[in-house]
Amino acid sequence: MTQIYDYLVVGAGPAGMAAGIEASHAGLKVLVLDQAATAGGQIFRNVSHTSYAQQQVLGSDYGLGKPLLKEFMAAPCDYQPLAQVWNIEPHAQGFTVAALIDGRSVSFVASDLLIANGAMERPMAVAGWEKPGVMTAGAGQILLKASALLPKKVVLAGSGPLLLLLAHQYRAAGVTITALLDTTPRSNYWRAIPWLIAGLSMPKQLFKGVWLSLVQRIRVPYFANVTDIKIVGNTQVAAVRFIVAGKEYEVPTNLVLLHQGIVGQTQMAQALACKQEWSDPKQCWQTQVAEAGQTSVPGVHVAGDAGATGGAKLAQLEGRLAAMARVKKSCTHSSWAKKLAYLALSWRIRQLHWARGLVDRLYQPAPWLSTPTGTTVVCRCEQVSAAQITDIAKAGCAGVNQLKAFSRAGMGPCQGRQCGLNLGYLIAQVQDRPMAQVEPLSVRPPLSPINLGQLAQPSDV
């Protein structure tokens, strides 16, 4: 017989772990599904198994994941690692979540869902980014956390806190950073000034950010206001070309790590028809939420970077708040102390989101990166170039979903995760429409690949 959970959490990062802890201690029957082998998400990936040397390089913020992970592992909730959620749909008693576990599809039923599967890096479609030797900065950090791998020599390019942090960690580990190409447009700094007040509400983080940003300028070959990055090479990366103040540079390298911020993974919420909204400061689609991560679909909540991106600390608090809201639903009355704790937490979350406004403005992607041109590959899976997409947009294509039918862009195995945003930007640019009016790619199951054999033999737990 299928077990019915009170609360099913997808993702065991800071948000999912915090929600699992809170809800299970309050007596709910909770299941946490996670795709990784160990809990922690990408931010605290492998935190329980990293060596002393890795921890030294990664820094103290990474270590903050340890107590949370320990508390999560001790919490009375069911936790299923190595589970790839491939379908999520409404069910008479709530929702059914189907996941691939050890090569078999297993379905779970829960009355309430928390989507906490985090974010991915904003795709950075520069010329040549499909060549072997190009990875994301996040990939660089994952290799360090999970496999203790460090590049021998590397070029870092893009914008955002993660890029600076990685530069810092690499330097600490003795990696040669051949160049750091900062694509943050100069105008962003002016635009961010009014938001300094918001940043000042978190002085420690602000100080750390400013320090991280300044120290790279001194310690590594640093180029500011970089544009027109081209990655050149025959079958793999040989060099990076770029322009600073009208002058062209070329730096030889076999490895380039790109980064321009993170965007929430909205696919699961979209699959459940939760309303999406365009965020102008964050420059991405996000799931519309009311109080405590409640989406437009009753019973479905989002927490952490899967909703409005805000980083690990905020994710942890949002996970906890969402779980408290779920617990409140099952309790006929809650004590004054609990009500106060709930209010204090939601106030703190609001404050942290406000402070995040500074990062959002400062590291908004440069417009030239969102609207690639010419032969630059936009859809990596189906090898569709920017020129092909602009041509279709010029012919009057109605939106990204029609563009997908005409060009195959977004039809490959990554299901538009790497091209969706840029398809929208290109249509918006060509047709002079605001992004908020260019609907995102529709999401259809399976959310992750499943073969016919696995599909034909579903089994319930």
């Binding site: 060596s51 790839q84 190009v134 999970a146 791998l149 020599k153 793999q236 990554c414 790497q418």
Partner: protein, 103 residues
């Protein structure tokens, strides 16, 4: 295969990770246990994972977190496995559809 662009951080220190033997395109190698398949390829200097079905050009993992589907390899006979989502295990066979890249 070409020289690896990566090296291990704690190569010279006693490691809690034992190594295991895998076969990459039929050739046996020792890799640290618990590494992802995609990481093991980088570690061994296999810079490309697949040949792109449309362009015919070599590709390699971009994200290492299950999003980009560029690290698709054949693992123990199962095709199109995301190398970044699987850990290496003893005697695992990994086949890339892309050949070695010249320096």
């Amino acid at each position: 295969m070409t020289a690896s662009l990566f090296s291990r951080l704690d190569q010279h220190q006693p490691s809690n990770l034992d190594s295991c033997s895998i076969r990459l395109n039929g050739i046996e190698h020792q890799v640290p246990m618990s590494m992802s398949v995609a990481a093991a390829l980088l570690y061994l200097g296999q810079r490309a994972t697949r040949t792109h079905p449309v362009s015919g050009q070599p590709r390699a993992a971009l994200c290492h977190m299950g999003v980009c589907f560029e690290c698709l390899v054949t693992i123990d006979g199962q095709q199109n496995q995301r190398g970044c989502m699987r850990s290496v295990t003893a005697n695992m066979s990994i086949i890339t559809t892309s050949q070695s890249l010249s320096e």
